[in-house]
């Protein structure tokens, strides 16, 4: 140790930038972070995640994709990609708990928030103190998000919210929530009359109940809203304009999240063969199955890189279809690959192990990764919805 790192000053020289991140990661990421995090209790989770974000903040990489104006490094997109690539290659801890905070909240506030809202809320994210969750889905409105029924009734200088939200990631750790609620139940279309709010999770009337999931973890929760008061100043954009804003919220992660996820798997894929050198790699069938996954993984990486290149050139002209194809292919690929590892590793992979909180599908705990892979085919519009989009909007087949 002892060396100081100045990653941001290398912007303009890609190889130097990459090397500086590599050196910093090598010096900073503890080799045994997985084991350490694995022993962490749910109640201690936020603290270690905040610590890791703080490490990143010290070198200007807490929010690599943010503009300088709001506390980000303001680096070009190509350099943001390098950051994600190197984090994946170094197998650095993930920040799943911050997905909404780092992507959806800024994307929404940068474009639609008032100056006051930006001033008040963005700093808490860069410093890691504030965790955000998202109150979009409801028991009756999953992939059909516009069917949501949570009601927001205007009373003087505030709205009164009643309803229920579900699948809200990290809601039990959250300080704030991006909430969609219906301000006008009489809209012509179900997309009309939805408004977008910032909700302080300490407000009376909010009851958060974690949902135990198939891995044994509870990464998401239900949120029950009983006469919750939200000040009028916390409305984002115009009343009734929530649907349009939500669409931009959901589309602005710009491929970086899935890029990071796939690069992590690519790294893990290489380790898998190495670890199995004296194991299933000696079995001709497993070996072939493994080899076959290489083409699929490569084709996914190539599609995502193509998307990123298009986005870098001109975000407005990037292919609108590529993200849909990527979403449809990535989840099932991950499910089949993680399922393959279960079969190849046999009973050892099925023994219970404590999970690594805050980690997505690349904990390398086989059963956990396999089970978590379903997140990608269900969340954010299920794959069945993706197939409808492809068949109707791209291939021109009629609606059923």
């Amino acid at each position: 140790m002892g060396r100081t790192f100045d990653i941001l000053s290398r912007v303009g020289d890609e190889p130097a930038f990459r090397q500086e991140i590599r050196d910093w990661l090598a010096a900073t990421v503890p080799a045994d972070w997985r084991q350490r995090w694995q022993a962490v209790r749910e109640s201690e989770l936020k603290a270690i995640v905040v610590d890791w974000l703080e490490e990143r903040r010290k070198v200007g990489l807490a929010t690599p994709h943010w503009p300088r104006e709001w506390g980000g490094p303001g680096i070009p997109f190509a350099y943001q990609i390098i950051v994600y690539e190197e984090f994946a290659r170094a197998d650095a801890p993930e920040l799943d708990m911050y997905t909404i905070s780092l992507f959806h909240t800024p994307a929404t506030l940068f474009e639609h928030g008032t100056e006051e809202q930006k001033d008040r809320y963005l700093g808490g994210i860069t410093h890691g103190t504030d965790i955000w969750c998202q109150g979009f889905s409801e028991p009756g409105a999953g992939s059909d998000l516009a069917a949501l029924r949570t009601a927001a009734r205007r009373e003087d200088d505030h709205y009164v919210i009643n309803g229920q939200k579900i699948w809200s990631s990290a809601a039990m750790h959250a300080d704030y929530c991006l909430l969609l609620a219906r301000t006008d139940p009489n809209g012509k279309r179900k997309h009309d009359g939805i408004s977008y709010f910032i909700m302080d999770m300490k407000t009376p009337g909010i009851d958060v109940r974690p949902i135990p999931q198939i891995t044994g973890e509870s990464e998401f929760a239900e949120i029950f809203l009983d006469d919750v008061k939200i000040p009028v100043g916390n409305l984002i954009g115009a009343e009734g304009n929530g649907w349009q804003i939500a669409q931009s919220t959901l589309s602005t992660e710009r491929g970086l999240l899935i890029f990071g996820a796939v690069e992590r798997l690519a790294h893990s894929f290489e380790l898998d063969a190495r670890d199995a050198r004296d194991g299933w790699m000696r079995d001709v069938q497993f070996r072939r199955e493994y080899a076959a996954f290489h083409a699929e993984l490569q084709s996914l990486r190539l599609m995502i890189r193509k998307l990123l290149i298009e986005l870098e050139a001109n975000p407005d002209k990037a292919s609108p279809t590529l993200p849909t194809y990527i979403k449809l292919i990535w989840g099932p690929f991950l499910q089949r690959y993680t399922e393959f590892l279960l079969r190849a590793e046999g009973i050892d992979a099925l023994k219970w192990q404590p999970s690594i909180p805050g980690t997505g599908h690349s904990s390398r705990l086989r059963m956990n990764d396999f089970l978590k892979s379903y997140g990608w085919t269900i969340a954010g519009g299920s794959n069945e919805i993706m197939r409808n989009i492809i068949s109707e909007r791209i291939l021109g087949l009629p609606r059923g």
């Binding site: 070996r287 084709s299 492809i390 009629p398």
Partner: protein, 357 residues
């Protein structure tokens, strides 16, 4: 090298000519009654310089690389064109990589102008012991052999791997065609009966294994490209059919169960095309060139064969008839899976490379 040639424009010109000269009705008719039309098509291709694509400029070619060849093979796959372009592509690769100046001067210009069609032995084809001045052997199942004027055969001399570059018209050489279910390609048994082997007919590479890999890569890309073109055509035609065919008072394309299948196929083809184009674009000496080419070949041919199977099913009863087109792509797709290394063979090689990485 002509770096200034726009591959996209080139691909469009391939598609345009084949769309006009080899429309789907023609492909369907040819499948039922193969005939001289294939010869005419070959002549048109040659006249347009397509056979010259990868031949170096000093031998009368265009000097383009694997990426250009991939576009050509993809267009031929789309049209299910019954031309022996695979043999020409591979013969050019073989001669450019390891042919003597005399061999190059003799054969490359004629490959370029299309006057000579070639067949190149697959890695699993019979190896001829060429120790003596006179050789007899039988090489079964050689792809493109029935129409070939030049036969490139695998051999050994002095314990080293070599190639035999034999004119079809040489005394003692005969080729007997074997019927294939895919009538758009041909297969033949080559018999050498006391054929005199001159030194001019022997190609002795410095690095036989390297040459074998280079040919394998070129073949893998050509076949993967052919497959992807065929897969896209089969699916697009099926989707068109789903927009017009009615059952229960609705076009079948409105049924979600069918829509979801073609959505998956479409996504798989988009991903697969990216893989083929990437593999074709890598320089031959890129450390990942062979790995990605073999990955593309095994994956794309498998994916396309599966999609072609489903296209028969999505057509219902007419998909079972010779009058509709899907069977053409299924047959060509299955042949693409089998040519130049079966899937398991390639997967074993891929696993070796992944392990060594």
């Amino acid at each position: 090298m002509s770096d200034d040639i726009d591959l996209g424009v080139l691909a469009e010109s391939f598609a345009e000519m084949l769309g006009a000269e080899w429309p789907r009705e023609k492909a369907v008719a040819y499948a039922r009654a193969p005939g001289p039309a294939a010869q005419t098509l070959w002549g048109e291709m040659a006249a347009l310089g397509w056979t010259a694509l990868t031949v170096p400029a000093e031998h009368g070619g265009l000097g383009l690389g694997t990426a250009a060849a991939a576009h050509l093979h993809s267009a031929l796959g789309t049209a299910a064109a019954p031309v022996p372009m695979l043999g020409t592509t591979l013969a050019a690769e073989l001669l450019v990589a390891a042919g003597s100046p005399a061999q190059q001067a003799e054969w490359l210009p004629r490959l370029a102008d299309g006057s000579v069609r070639a067949a190149v032995a697959q890695p699993t084809d019979a190896v001829i012991a060429a120790e003596n001045a006179v050789v007899s052997a039988t090489i079964p199942d050689m792809v493109d052999a029935p129409s070939a004027d030049l036969l490139c055969l695998r051999g050994t001399r002095g314990g080293c791997a070599c190639w035999l570059i034999l004119p079809r018209e040489a005394a003692g050489v005969s080729v007997e065609a074997t019927a294939l279910t895919d009538t758009t390609r041909t297969l033949g048994t080559v018999t050498l009966d006391g054929v005199a082997i001159t030194d001019a007919a022997i190609l002795l590479p410095d690095n036989a294994a390297g040459l074998a890999d280079r040919l394998l890569r070129a073949a893998a890309i050509a076949i993967a490209a052919d497959a992807i073109g065929g897969g896209e055509a089969a699916l697009a035609g099926t989707i068109d059919y789903m927009k017009t065919r009615e059952q229960f008072g609705r076009v079948i394309g409105s049924f979600q169960a069918l829509k979801h299948r073609v959505a998956d196929h479409q996504a798989a083809l988009v991903a697969a095309r990216g893989l083929v184009e990437h593999a074709a674009g890598l320089a031959p000496d890129d450390p990942r060139a062979l790995l990605d080419a073999l990955s593309a070949k095994q994956h794309v041919t498998r994916t396309v064969a599966e999609i072609a199977r489903d296209c028969i099913q999505l057509h219902g009863g007419v998909g079972f008839t010779a009058e509709f087109f899907p069977h053409i792509y299924l047959k060509r797709g299955k042949l693409n899976e089998a040519l130049w290394g079966t899937r398991t063979l390639l997967l074993d090689r891929i696993a070796d490379m992944l392990e060594a990485a």
